[in-house]
């Protein structure tokens, strides 16, 4: 049994934890829920030995433990999959997994053969489709997340901490992961599971602990809670059940086509994709991992060059030579892979929010400090980003707040076309709804939005129309009647059926 009691943590003036507590029984999966910046990751890091709390105690099986470092945590058989990943991008998959627990022969040499075999077994178990010698930086975000979990599981922990590991995972990967979690549970391993996807809590967790502004507000059996209860404890208010209103698409055909992608291919993932987006429309792109969604979005932006096919933007054929050209033409891009593609971690929060503007206008024109401050203050207010000071580095923000910052950065620039690749990764349910509302509002004012999301529910909620990609082709186009979870999932799995409109037509 694991118990954390009265944990306090301050970062300068920011209180990250205030008498927080958590209890996990052996062989149970404990959900740790709470809005962005409520202190979940900090709790996890305290257990992992990365954050030294200012006060509090940790007990394992009734015995008081002192965890000051990663080594201490490893000694207590605690392994962690971190929200912002602990993989080293420039090392191979195999070396990352074996890091710190190399398998040696009797003579003390690294046992290459056994290592390779065990790593391969691990990858197979997690359905990770890559070579053990591939560099981690070449893997897709979701594969990296899976690998992060695999790495933790490889350490044969008694206590496994999973911090938002499903944030970038797709439908099938989550199934695999849950299968493994059930196996581990049967072996008596306790798990702490942090997530913003509420359905997962009901599916896999036994108990739930909810945090709000650095404090533990309640914990109990999952079966005692409804979704509304959870949201209530997270936010302090009961959710409104206003159904997201669908945009009126009846006159779609007389509207201006903003993006017209014709038969593009991008080696190796995208084989033949055609799609259209009309002015003021929110177009979703669905599919399992690796079906070419990110490539198509980046091809529109100008970040990758398609080998064949053409792209029209605002009625004119375009061949952007780099993203700068795309941005100049009126495109904005929001990435969910924030470490790699969005966040400037050592720069201030203000500069990060202003980054879209920084990239756009003339290089040497006078830029007043007030303008930057005003711009970022507005965004912080509008998007409810939880920050210390605007001058703090972006790395001081919690994962979800970093993501909100990235979203704010581009929406505030009001581009003609907004491209979003898994934009709400790690954003809590409440803020996610707020972002959806803002996107709806932008669309109503004429912004065209193309969004790809790993979460099928989110995709269904936000999109007017969905293109489902399968093996680099459009497997189905869902709108109106056909835009249902069943259709979406079966199209994602490549099952042809009459419900979905065929792409070829």
């Amino acid at each position: 049994m694991l118990e954390m009691k009265g944990i306090d943590k301050r970062f300068g003036a920011v209180v990250a934890l205030n008498k927080a507590s958590l209890t996990v029984q052996d062989g149970q999966i404990a959900a740790l829920a709470g809005s962005n910046g409520s202190g979940k990751s900090t709790m996890v890091k305290v257990l992992a030995g990365l954050v030294a709390p200012n006060a509090g105690e940790i007990f394992i099986d009734g015995e008081k433990k002192i965890i000051h470092s990663g080594t201490d945590a490893a000694r207590e058989n605690i392994a962690t999959a971190f929200q912002d990943l602990s993989l080293i991008p420039t090392m191979s998959v195999k070396d990352n997994i074996l890091l710190g627990c190399e398998i040696c022969t009797k003579s003390g040499m690294v046992d290459e053969k056994t290592s390779r075999k065990q790593v391969q077994e691990l990858l197979d178990r997690f359905h990770i489709d890559c070579d053990p010698d591939d560099y981690v930086q070449t893997l897709m975000p979701s594969t990296q997340s899976m690998l992060e979990v695999a790495k933790a599981v490889f350490r044969k922990p008694k206590i496994l901490l999973l911090d938002e590991v499903t944030a970038s995972l797709h439908y099938d990967e989550i199934e695999t992961l849950f299968g493994i979690m059930r196996e581990l549970k049967a072996e008596g391993i306790s798990m702490v599971y942090v997530t913003h996807r509420m359905n997962e809590i009901f599916e896999i967790c036994d108990t739930i602990t909810i945090m709000r502004s650095s404090e533990t507000v309640i914990s109990g059996q999952v079966s005692e809670f409804t979704l509304d209860d959870i949201i209530y404890y997270m936010t302090g208010s009961r959710p409104k059940h206003a159904k997201a209103k669908e945009s009126d698409l009846s006159h779609l055909d007389d509207r201006e086509v903003v993006v017209n992608v014709k038969d593009i291919s991008v080696y190796p993932k995208v084989k033949d994709i055609s799609m259209k987006a009309y002015k003021g429309e929110i177009v979703g792109i669905g599919g399992l991992e690796g079906q070419g969604q990110p490539e198509v979005i980046r091809a529109i932006l100008g970040a990758v060059k398609p080998q064949s096919g053409s792209i029209e933007f605002m009625g004119k054929p375009v061949k952007f030579k780099d993203p700068a050209a795309g941005v100049k033409a009126g495109i904005g891009f929001i990435s969910g892979d924030r470490n790699k593609e969005a966040i400037f971690d050592v720069r201030t929060i203000a500069e990060n929010i202003f980054a879209g503007n920084s990239a756009k206008e003339s290089l040497f024109a006078y830029l007043s400090a007030r303008k930057v401050r005003q711009f970022s203050e507005d965004a912080v207010k509008k998007y409810n980003i939880k920050i210390g000071k605007l001058k703090d580095p972006a790395s001081s923000l919690s994962g979800g707040n970093q993501q909100k910052l990235v979203v704010a950065r581009w929406i505030a620039m009001n581009p003609n076309l907004l491209l979003l690749d898994d934009p709400t990764k790690g954003v809590d349910i409440h803020s996610r709804q707020e972002i959806h509302e803002i996107l709806r509002e932008c669309a109503a004012n004429g912004m065209t939005i193309i969004i790809s999301a790993s979460d099928t529910e989110e995709l269904l909620n936000i999109s007017d129309r969905i293109y489902v990609f399968y093996e680099g082709k459009v497997a189905a186009e869902l709108a109106g009647e056909t835009k249902t979870a069943e259709h979406l999932v079966s199209a994602m799995m490549g099952v042809q059926e009459s419900g979905g409109k065929e792409a070829a037509e």
């Binding site: 890091k45 954050v51 200012n54 006060a55 970040a303 966040i343 400037f344 879209g356 400090a369």
Partner: protein, 333 residues
């Protein structure tokens, strides 16, 4: 209860330590200034006669000269590169200045334009080789330094020739109120330009973005290579101008006279809080760092050790400073 205090005592210590660490990391310019003051006080204690207007004037003058290549170095480092050619560029334009002026007044504009063109050209070459072709910055800029140095010998045959114009020399060396050297006028022109570029223009914002996370900068619509190449070009031009001022200060200039400024500017900038990793650093820090470098050499002169001892001392102090400064930040709190 006593158990509890026991447990968390180390944390309390850690807290103070991390606070100091945080202070050092967030107030790097101020820290450099404090170090400068300490160095100066030590120097004066060892040699009270060092406290005179001539010495102070010299410190100001040398700091300003160093602060100019340091400005370019700051930009390049922020953008994720490194420029080892500033020394060679300075030497070249210094030689060019004396060679062209030949001790006569009136060639200033010609020399200025020529120098800036040379600086920009070297910078462009550096930029293209490092950024476009992707060769390691340290090696490229050193190799280009060698070429630039060869040019000095071709121009002068290695013979000390010419002299800076008296008027130009006076505009650098003569003292206002008997203390402050006239060179501050050049600082009043150059420093604000650098501050403007780094703090008040989108070029500066983009440079920081590029250095911090070039992939993210690109997807945000920043032309990464263009910005990085521009940082090298600015660095070349600033070094070229500093070389002219150096020539005016020295009156004559032999080949390779300012080659030391390559590593001196680099260390000054690092002491001022700019990191090798790119994406962070300020010019005020680099100016303070320049002051530290000048005062350090001043202190060593005062101690007057033999040259080898001096070199060892110099290196030891610098390593100490760099270790203090660039203590890698924890990846994660």
């Amino acid at each position: 209860m006593s158990n509890k205090t026991m447990t968390f005592n180390p944390n309390a210590n850690k807290d103070i330590f991390s606070k100091i660490n945080l202070f050092v990391q967030t107030h790097t310019a101020l820290m450099a200034l404090i170090i400068a003051v300490v160095l100066y006080v030590v120097t004066i204690i060892i040699n009270p006669r060092g406290l005179n207007t001539v010495a102070i004037g010299n410190i100001i003058l040398l700091t300003i000269i160093l602060s100019i290549p340091a400005a370019g170095q700051t930009m390049v480092l922020i953008g994720g590169g490194m420029d080892f050619s500033v020394g060679a560029v300075m030497s070249s334009t210094a030689v060019l200045t004396t060679y062209t002026m030949r001790g006569e007044n009136g060639h200033f504009i010609t020399v200025l334009l020529l120098s800036l063109v040379i600086g920009a050209a070297v910078g462009l070459l550096n930029g293209v080789c490092c950024v476009k072709i992707g060769l390691p910055a340290m090696i490229v800029t050193m190799a280009i330094s060698n070429i630039v140095t060869r040019m000095q010998y071709i121009l002068t045959q290695g013979i000390l020739s010419g002299k800076a114009s008296p008027l130009f020399s006076a505009s650098v060396k003569s003292k206002i109120f008997g203390v402050i050297p006239m060179i501050v006028i050049y600082a009043i022109i150059v420093w604000p330009i650098v501050f403007y570029l780094l703090k008040r223009s989108r070029f500066g914002k983009q440079l920081y973005m590029v250095g911090n996370n070039s992939g993210a900068a690109r997807l945000n619509g920043v032309r990464v290579t263009k910005i990085q190449i521009m940082s090298y070009v600015f660095s070349g031009m600033l070094a070229a101008f500093a070389g002219m001022l150096g020539a005016a200060y020295m009156s004559t200039a032999r080949c390779q006279i300012f080659d030391d400024y390559a590593y001196m500017s680099l260390i000054a900038v690092i002491i001022g809080g700019t990191t090798f990793a790119g994406g962070s650093g300020t010019y005020e820090g680099s100016i303070a760092g320049s002051l530290v470098m000048v005062l350090l050499s001043n202190l060593l002169t005062t101690l007057n050790p033999t040259q080898p001892v001096r070199n060892v001392l110099n290196a030891a102090i610098l390593i100490l400073l760099l270790v203090l400064y660039n203590r890698g930040k924890a990846v994660r709190q």
